[in-house]
């Protein structure tokens, strides 16, 4: 589409819903611990203050720190995060992911929320999309669950480890 704006402008990108740098409410786990953590850590991308807190109230281990005010942005205590993915299925903003960097030398697993059709099956190859919807890689689905039985599925996809901070969605190609 003929968009004449300067799309490399970071502020403009962020103002239209694309995370351009990690900031409060949208931070990456500490690198060293993350690389060793089987099961992965939660990666939340919710940088703006909004009246919402299911990530905190649904986390079974207390890893999402208590909100003093319902408008607070989420903060994680990685010592407590098990990578269970409950927050992935509960967040109404679809802003919670779990990323496990221990899958193999060069592959990671991302657990992402999915509410589209068709629902991919285990074993399917899917297109992996970055934060702008651009295809960044092809990935294999290794699990599909519905933790809260409310039609928000959690899909686990094997992705290139180098793209762990890029891939945030999938597209099922039939």
């Amino acid at each position: 589409m003929g968009c004449s704006c300067n799309c490399l402008d970071k502020e403009k990108l962020f103002n239209s819903g694309i995370l351009v740098e990690h900031s409060t409410g949208a931070v990456l786990p500490p690198k060293e611990a993350w690389e060793k953590k089987k099961g992965g850590y939660a990666v939340i991308e919710c940088p703006k203050r909004i009246p919402c807190n299911p990530c905190y109230t649904s986390c079974p281990t207390g890893a999402v720190l208590p909100f003093a005010d319902i408008n607070d942005t989420p903060e994680i205590d990685y010592e407590k995060c098990t990578g269970c993915g409950i927050c992935v299925s509960r967040c109404p903003g679809l802003a919670c992911f779990v990323i496990d960097l221990t899958y193999s030398d060069d592959k990671a697993v991302i657990k992402l929320p999915y509410e589209l059709i068709p629902l991919p099956q285990k074993g399917a190859l899917v297109k992996c999309l970055d934060r702008t919807g651009k295809e960044a890689a092809c990935g294999e689905v290794i699990a599909v669950t519905e933790p809260s039985k409310d039609r928000t599925y959690v899909v686990s996809v094997v992705i290139p480890k180098a793209l762990a901070d890029d891939i945030r969605a999938i597209k099922v190609v039939c």
Partner: protein
């Protein structure tokens, strides 16, 4: 002349706010009649297939239509205290004798006399002017949602969404879920008006959000076949070249205005408050208007969220029940206000609070 129907508490509008007002008042023992224009109760909630924000008290993480079911279950559990009459519209109010007139369906017309009334009439969608904006294919977001999510009808193949507030963002997401291609969301402001996370979730599906852009023309002979969009400068003047995008729907999500005709008819003291998106009635902390037997709740009191609309409904129902002489728990009233304060503590809340400050009175003269 037909007999006038009588009720203790009349609730006008069976949306989030009205259902909560009815449940709260009936819980305190009031006999309540809810009049709802639509064929079913729930208001906007029944169209909302996405999960709501908020806290547990406002059913955060629950899909909107499920929240409507929860509220209706609560009402059902109160026995026959609440009579919900759908397909019925309150068409007028006559302050001289305190009578409301109601149209049921197309031809049945009757009168209601109520001791107290909670008016929770919600909001109306706005439109913006552009060439050919009356072509079939130009829809309001509410219509698109009703078609898709209530009747299961896909409205078209490719859409241009106008407005990146929460409604534009979430309806874009719902269109994508239904398999409709969203060519772009155009937004006149330099940043999205809705929640950032809503925007992020459509961006990662590849839906562009064009800030500082608007629709200038709809094209097509008898039906829409395209939209002409154009960039705006910081004074909202058109700049750059107009670009034609092929599409069969233009969906307008450019804001809501409180529905307040009945308040005007009743002679309630009103004021235009930009932050609340239109004319709204003055109210005290109990949501009572300057007409002592009338309360306001929800979007009719200022455009906000369902979460706030529900709490306001509780407050209005609580207070109307007390005014009917029923015993109510004063602690609940404080608790509801604490919840509202929490909901309004963020960035969006600042604007709402500034608006409410202009129409909130500390108490009405007896």
């Amino acid at each position: 002349m037909k007999k006038t129907f009588e009720t203790d508490l009349l609730v006008i509008g069976g949306g989030a706010a009205g259902l909560c007002a009815a449940a709260e008042a009936a819980g305190a023992g009031a006999n309540v009649t809810v009049i709802e224009s639509d064929l079913h109760p729930g208001g906007q909630l029944v169209k909302q297939t996405h999960k709501f924000f908020g806290s547990r008290d406002e059913y955060a993480g629950t899909r909107g239509y499920k929240i409507a079911e929860i509220l209706l279950d609560e009402i059902k559990s109160l026995g026959d205290k609440v009579d919900i009459r759908c397909n019925s519209t309150v068409t007028g109010y006559y302050p001289e004798d305190g009578v409301f007139t109601v149209m049921k369906g197309e031809d049945e017309y009757y009168r209601i006399k109520a001791k107290k009334a909670v008016m929770a009439t919600g909001a109306q969608e706005r439109m913006i002017p552009f060439t050919n904006n009356d072509l079939p294919g130009v829809y309001g977001a509410g219509a698109v949602q009703t078609l898709m999510n209530v009747y299961g009808v896909v409205p078209g193949k490719k859409v241009i969404m106008v407005g990146a507030g929460n409604i534009g963002l979430i309806v874009s997401y719902q269109l994508a879920q239904a398999g409709v291609e969203v060519a772009a969301v155009v937004e006149a402001m330099p940043k999205i008006g809705g929640y950032w996370v809503h925007a992020a979730k459509i961006r990662r599906l590849g839906i562009p959000i064009l800030l500082r852009h608007t629709v200038v023309e709809a094209t097509g002979d008898k039906v829409l076949d395209g939209a002409v969009i154009q960039e705006l400068d910081d004074k909202f003047q058109l700049i750059g070249e107009p670009v034609k995008v092929d599409c069969d729907i233009i969906c307008m999500a450019v804001g809501l205005t409180p529905t307040t005709e009945l308040f005007w008819q009743a002679g309630c003291k009103m004021q235009f408050v930009p932050q609340l998106c239109g004319y709204v009635p003055f109210r005290d902390k109990t949501m009572r208007t300057s007409c002592p037997d009338m309360w306001v709740a929800g979007d009719a009191s200022g455009i906000e969220e369902a979460s706030a609309a529900m709490v306001e409904g509780r407050i209005a129902g609580h207070s109307a029940a007390a005014a009917l002489g029923l015993k109510t728990d004063a602690k609940k009233f404080d608790e509801y206000w604490t919840r509202l304060d929490h909901l309004r503590a963020g960035e969006v809340g600042e604007k709402i609070l500034a608006g409410i400050g202009q129409v909130l009175v500390s108490g009405w003269e007896a």
